[in-house]
């Protein structure tokens, strides 16, 4: 037991150390894209028509006239000190702006993840069970459509159907304008529950349904395919055939034997889809007017709020590194061979 936990601890520590190069690579990539590629960040703040004097002055204020390696070092130092600068537009601290928007994206992503897991695992399992019938082919096409569909378009189609045609769900926003939620954790649903604001909770949850289905269906494609092929493989394994020979019911075989053994890789796949989920959330938030990180990114690009754009992308890099780490640790916990 003690050797098992110390092995896991060693693995966790070495994985945390490995996160540093990954983060450095991502931060360098962001620096290269935002500073080294052709395109002068000065023009994010002043128009190219502004006088030479103003352009030079702004360049100096931003430190863009310093040598590139000096800019790189001060950028890295800033990130590691936790200083992402101030917004050009609102003059607020970039961290505090992101702090207001991040929880909303996390809430949406979590709901999307549940929808994706539910859709992917149930359809995938059923398709494997019925692989000889038309449902097997139908499911292959359905999962590929989920994977290759323009996610923003799917969201708009859902809005047309459920908000315009049938009028059962609201189309946009996260809360009716007549309602408000006192901010405690930043997660609107949780805050509404804590403060006992049931009207706001119901309204907010109703508004989360369509965006969650949009994001969830988009992510479900991968999970569906993997569940489908894993369960299919498991159904042909010796232990399943042995169970069948012993006269165990088909339903028990499917859920207890085949599905259970197929789920470990599916769980990791859910984590690996985190990056796709962030991509999808940028578009989903735009379509449904949800004030999360994705909307913030798009809006700050159009307002040319350069420090905010950079800060958001840095936070995305941090999120990706942390989630990758967590998945690796969970996987090592489930499957001890990884630690060796």
């Amino acid at each position: 037991m003690s050797s098992k936990s110390s092995g896991l601890l060693f693995y966790i520590v070495s994985r945390i150390l490995l996160i540093i190069p990954m983060l450095l690579i991502l931060l360098t990539l962001i620096f290269i894209i935002l500073r080294v590629l052709p395109g002068d960040p000065v023009y994010f703040i002043v128009s190219p028509q502004a006088g030479e004097h103003i352009i030079e002055q702004t360049r100096h204020e931003l430190g863009l006239d310093r040598p590139i390696w000096e800019q790189y070092v001060s950028y890295l130092m800033g990130v590691f000190r936790g200083d992402l600068g101030k917004s050009y537009i609102t003059k607020d601290n970039v961290w505090s702006i992101i702090g207001r928007h991040l929880p909303i994206t996390i809430e949406l992503a979590t709901c999307g993840l549940f929808v994706a897991a539910f859709l992917g695992i149930s359809f995938g399992t059923f398709a494997a069970y019925k692989s000889k019938s038309w449902f097997g082919v139908f499911n292959t096409i359905l999962s590929t459509i989920a994977y290759t569909m323009p996610v923003f378009w799917f969201g708009m189609i859902l809005q047309i159907l459920f908000a315009i045609q049938f009028r059962v769900l609201p189309a946009t926003g996260i809360l009716d304008t007549s309602l408000s939620i006192t901010r405690i954790t930043g997660l609107p649903a949780l805050d509404a529950l804590i403060t006992g604001n049931m009207r706001a909770f119901v309204d907010h949850v109703a508004r989360l349904i369509l965006p969650s289905i949009t994001l969830g269906f988009f992510i479900s494609g991968n999970i569906n395919r993997m569940t489908h092929s894993n369960v299919l493989k498991a159904l042909n394994e010796d232990y399943v055939r042995a169970a069948r020979a012993r006269g165990i019911k088909e339903r028990v075989i499917l859920f207890k034997y085949a599905l259970k053994n197929s789920l470990i890789p599916v769980i990791t796949l859910l984590g690996m889809n985190f990056a796709r989920m962030l991509s999808g959330s940028v578009l989903t938030e735009t379509v449904f007017s949800i004030p999360g990180m994705g909307s913030l990114l798009v809006n700050s690009i159009f307002r040319r709020d350069y420090p905010l754009v950079q800060g958001i992308i840095v936070v995305y890099a941090l999120l990706i590194s942390i989630v990758t780490l967590i998945i690796d640790i969970i996987y090592a916990y489930i499957d001890p061979r990884i630690r060796l």
Binding site: Y147, P150, Y316, I320
Partner: protein
């Protein structure tokens, strides 16, 4: 591979889907190439018939400036597909070259390159493309470049994996014993064997490129308005679809779905056929 084998593959579900993908791709290519001769109306000509629902006169309806949507979608196929193809093509040499080198040399170079590529691969592709597009500005070529940055790691991973699996094979060993140089082994023995899987990933990447271009254009960071592109049309429709003008976004979206589905079915079909389990 002989005809009998191809027949056998086409009888499986994957084979049928791959064939369906090929049919979609050929149809779309014909439409894109002959677009000027097929379109019923000038795609950029504004008319007083604004926001007309689908009818016999305008099969897909008209947009807010009275432009015929069917004509815009037919013409838009040129820009949407060529931007995606260009994006998938530009990144190919770099990704493949690095993958060949990394897989063949191994050691520290391989470790470092793999780590860099894995980190980029882990980053959300659309957000990476958004960052590049923001700096380069809107435009067809810039959008293709923004799309292409996303693909370097995908080519790298596939090529590297393939090189690793064949570099210990006898024919490579034989070339080495005969005194062939590393460059010559890479070019003459290893590279030709990776072409098929590079082609498969190229097709899958193009599907992805269509989606990224559509996403960028929808956000207003991709193809600028005078050009008809599917994503741009949906961006235009965004102001109207919630007021009941559903057709402006529905048909361009279906076109995006169809094109990316075609490239995906085709690319995944090739990947399956090449996979070692099948051999």
């Amino acid at each position: 591979m002989n005809i009998e084998e191809i027949r056998k593959i086409l009888r499986t579900n994957e084979g049928k889907l791959m064939f369906a993908g090929l049919v979609i791709l050929v149809t779309l290519s014909v439409i894109a190439i002959f677009a000027p001769y097929i379109i019923p109306y000038d795609p950029s000509k504004t008319t007083p018939d604004i926001l007309q629902p689908p009818s016999l006169k305008h099969l897909f309806g008209t947009d807010n400036l009275g432009r015929d949507l069917l004509s815009r979608i037919i013409y838009g196929s040129r820009i949407s597909i060529s931007t995606a193809l260009l994006g998938a093509l530009v990144s190919l040499p770099l990704g493949v070259l690095l993958g060949e080198i990394s897989g063949y040399l191994g050691g520290k170079i391989d470790k470092a390159l793999s780590m860099i590529m894995d980190s980029i691969y882990a980053f959300p592709s659309l957000i990476l493309a958004i960052s590049v597009a923001t700096i380069l500005g809107a435009g067809i070529l810039n959008t293709a470049l923004a799309v292409s940055t996303v693909f370097v790691p995908t080519y790298f991973r596939v090529t590297r994996g393939h090189v690793l699996s064949i570099k210990s094979k006898e024919f490579v060993e034989a070339a080495r014993l005969m005194g062939a140089s590393k460059v010559s082994i890479l070019l003459k023995d290893i590279f030709p064997n990776t072409i098929a899987s590079i082609f498969a990933i190229f097709s899958v990447n193009t599907a992805w490129g269509i989606l990224i271009e559509a996403g960028l254009s929808f956000l207003g960071l991709g193809i600028p308005p005078p050009h008809p592109s599917w994503g741009t049309d949906i961006r235009i429709g965004r102001l109207y679809y919630l007021s009941g003008y559903w057709w402006i976004i529905t048909f361009p979206g279906l076109a995006i779905l169809l094109a990316s589905l075609g490239f995906t079915f085709f690319g995944q079909g090739i990947q399956r056929i090449l996979s070692p389990e099948r051999r």
